[in-house]
Symmetry: C2
Subunit: 475 residues, 2 copies
């Protein structure tokens, strides 16, 4: 009896034969095979399927198995069963078009061999073993409620550990109640300027374009503040123009590399008190100072006027997305409200692991080790330049994960281009300049000496030296 | 020589004596002790400090140690050094006021003994050992670039694992390029309605008020769609009013518990095709069905019209903040742009761990175990009610982490109150009703039978039975 479904049945049969070896029950395998056949177009819309008993006999399956698979595909909309006309392939299954191939938005010339761009620690140095040990202890010690719905405030274990750590290492004055866990400085900006605070915001004339972009998209106007080798000129903070907040990198100006001098620390706190203002302290690399003890946080001078933000993005890895805000008391509820009940939370296991990592002393040990490594890299950069490009001045304090090399006016762009020719990715100083800055333009390079893995650093320095302009008569 | 600093020096000395036993160098201990003394007000602003040599002699320290500590506190702004007048305590150190004590915003009457509120898996069942094994393997196998700046798309390891898993278990048709990792459904809503999509959005007449609140705050108007025991009446989807998107819970309507019937699955896909619309499929508990194989995702019918969202919030723990969006191709770039370069990312270690957890089979095993446990709990709920409150009808399919008990009109509020008297937290059905819904009001309870730990479930059921209205003549 050559009915229209016979060919289809044969085709289904052979398809299924190929697929029935998959995991799960025979029924599941049959459903999967039929779905695949419909998706791929081998069973076009409208095709009539064979009765249960025929297909069951063809495939050596129980009749109920086939009936169940049909029912499942009807429930899912792949098949349509109509009284009297049997079961047919439904009209609406669309084949999947392959997704366009996407790379991630290139953050730099990723095809280049060497990378001295600023902004990240040596990814090869992540303390995998020590982190796993902390994860094991944290998972064993976690109370069951840690696996329930999280608290936007952040886990108390981590907030307690941070309150102690920040007091001891950074001179931050806080208690766990004023700490809110976030995913890093960008998240902190979004939480603050998503509603709680409004611009205009005074910022340093050099800083991360990424942060300025976030503020722009939140319609926060930024007003550049001049700076020099002693940090931002906070004594020139605007007294009018509605500026009520200022964003600073006091321990190590990013990227020019100065430390905010004592009078300027005092000046900004006085300004905030006099004008009811707020100081945002971005302490992005405060643990890394190589020539002396790091200067403590400005926050310690007035916890009600200074909002301190830190993260593990430079000390451990930006991939953890773990940071903290130390808030003036009156902003805690505001930030928690902006964070929302769920959406802005950080994974609890990483929070608990970091708490153990800090309290066990592993964080201190890791930072000491990285401090030594980065200091060595910085020394090597300075020594290499002294030998091979003695006309290039390295500016900024001996700290952090980057250094600034000064270039003659008008040469920055050509040096960055020459670096690209040498297969070296790096950042020009002007990339960090605020578009409305009025202080004199300075050409330079921002060298992220922490970025490459240890074995690749020498070759990156070689490439840098080849890209630098040769000594001139006046050099 | 009774100078004004002598008393201060004595006080400093004794303070320091108490504190010098802390960790770190003697200089660090001295700095800390002086900071503490200034903070606490024991050294008031303006106090003149003793010369280095005197304090050094008092404390038995090298003179340089004291000089360094003074210099550090000057740099931090605690002290002011003025030529000729020595070193004094600066004017601006404010004492820290204790933070107000805050609980987290109560999500329910947390002081109650029993908890049958919906929305979370049994927190005591988190598979700590298996998760740690996956974390160990993931940390060992991770390439170094995993610890560099993350990709808003999410780790490829996880997107590949999910593409396979979702195809196999939920009938989702995708490839890793269309998957974007997020922190859960709320995050997905924010990413979509933060700019890419606009309202009005059709929603089911019963759903999470939390989601409606998020949409409200993004100024997205929601239009309620009537529903019955076969899910939302998609055949009534508005043809006008500018509605171009609909949010559905097809596998298990939340909270009323029906499965979207086949014609309605077909109708919503047809509607989306005809009107250029989008279906948001919230597959919040799709793996948990107890009476048969779960119905596959609607997404499989048309991956270019249906946007599928899932997470581990019900299957593992909401504390992980890990979810995924399976996007129509044309929305991938839009969502990535909304996610931003950094701020919206999920921790990479959890992503890598989940990828291993899935590919190693641990996720399937965990879900099988939980399916068994929750089915048992649901059976026990049904049996207990059959015995002790036979007039109460349990509605919705045998699936998920919750069930709905129907109540006589007008009694819901008093039953919830009676439950509170029994020390039991639960949700009334009307809490989930859209404020503009026009379908008839129904009274009921939404019982989250997964919420309590195993040992506490029996007592919670007892409390529930005591709170339910007694059988009436008409019951």
């Amino acid at each position: 009896m050559p009915e229209s479904w016979v060919n289809s049945a044969e085709r289904i049969g052979s398809d299924l034969h190929l697929q029935l070896s998959g995991t799960g029950s025979r029924r599941a395998a049959l459903s999967r095979a039929m779905r695949d056949a419909i998706r791929s177009g081998r069973l076009p819309p409208g095709t009539r399927l064979p009765p249960y008993r025929s297909l069951a006999a063809d495939l050596g399956l129980a009749r109920n198995t086939v009936a169940d698979a049909y029912a499942e595909l009807v429930a899912e909309g792949w098949l349509a069963a109509r009284q009297g006309s049997g079961t047919r392939v439904a009209q609406r299954a669309e084949p999947l078009k392959p997704a366009r191939v996407r790379g991630r938005a290139p953050r730099g010339p990723h095809h280049l061999t060497h990378n001295l761009r600023q902004g990240q620690p040596d990814a090869a140095s992540f303390p995998r073993t020590a982190w796993l040990s902390s994860a094991r202890r944290a998972l064993a010690a976690a109370p069951n409620d840690a696996f329930g719905p999280g608290d936007p405030h952040g886990r108390p274990e981590l907030r307690h550990a941070l309150a102690d750590y920040l007091a001891r290492v950074r001179g931050v004055r806080t208690d766990p109640g004023r700490i809110v866990i976030c995913s890093g400085f960008a998240h902190a900006l979004r939480l603050l300027f998503g509603g709680a605070l409004r611009g205009p915001l005074a910022v340093e004339s050099y800083g991360l374009a990424f942060h300025r972009g976030l503020l722009d998209s939140a319609s926060v106007r930024t007003v550049p503040l001049a700076l020099d080798e002693h940090g931002a000129r906070t004594e020139e903070l605007p007294r009018s123009k509605g500026v009520r907040a200022v964003l600073l990198t006091p321990a190590h100006q990013f990227p020019t590399g100065g430390t905010l001098r004592p009078e300027r620390r005092a000046a900004v706190v006085d300004w905030a008190r006099r004008h009811g203002g707020l100081v945002l302290e971005d302490d992005y690399d405060g643990e890394f100072r190589y020539d002396r003890q790091p200067v403590g946080a400005v926050q310690g001078l007035d916890p009600d006027r200074v909002l301190y933000v830190g993260s593990v993005s430079k000390s451990l890895s930006p991939a953890l997305r773990l940071g903290w805000m130390v808030l003036p008391d009156h902003l805690v509820d505001v930030v928690l409200a902006a964070k929302g009940e769920r959406e802005g939370q950080t994974g609890v296991l990483d929070q608990l692991t970091l708490a153990d990592f800090i309290t066990s002393g592993a964080y201190d040990r890791h930072i000491r080790r990285m401090r030594q490594r980065y200091r060595h890299r910085r020394d090597r950069l300075v020594a290499t330049l002294a030998e091979r490009a003695p006309h290039i001045r390295v500016t900024g304090i001996a700290a952090g994960l980057h250094a600034v090399l000064r270039l003659s006016p008008g040469t920055e762009r050509s040096v960055v281009k020459a670096a690209t020719w040498q297969g070296l990715a790096l950042d020009g100083l002007n990339d960090f300049r605020h578009p409305s800055a009025t202080m004199p333009v300075a050409d330079g390079l921002v060298i992220g000496y922490a970025t490459p893995p240890e074995h690749a650093y020498g070759a990156a320095l070689d490439a840098l030296c080849r890209a630098l302009p040769p000594v001139t008569a006046g050099g």
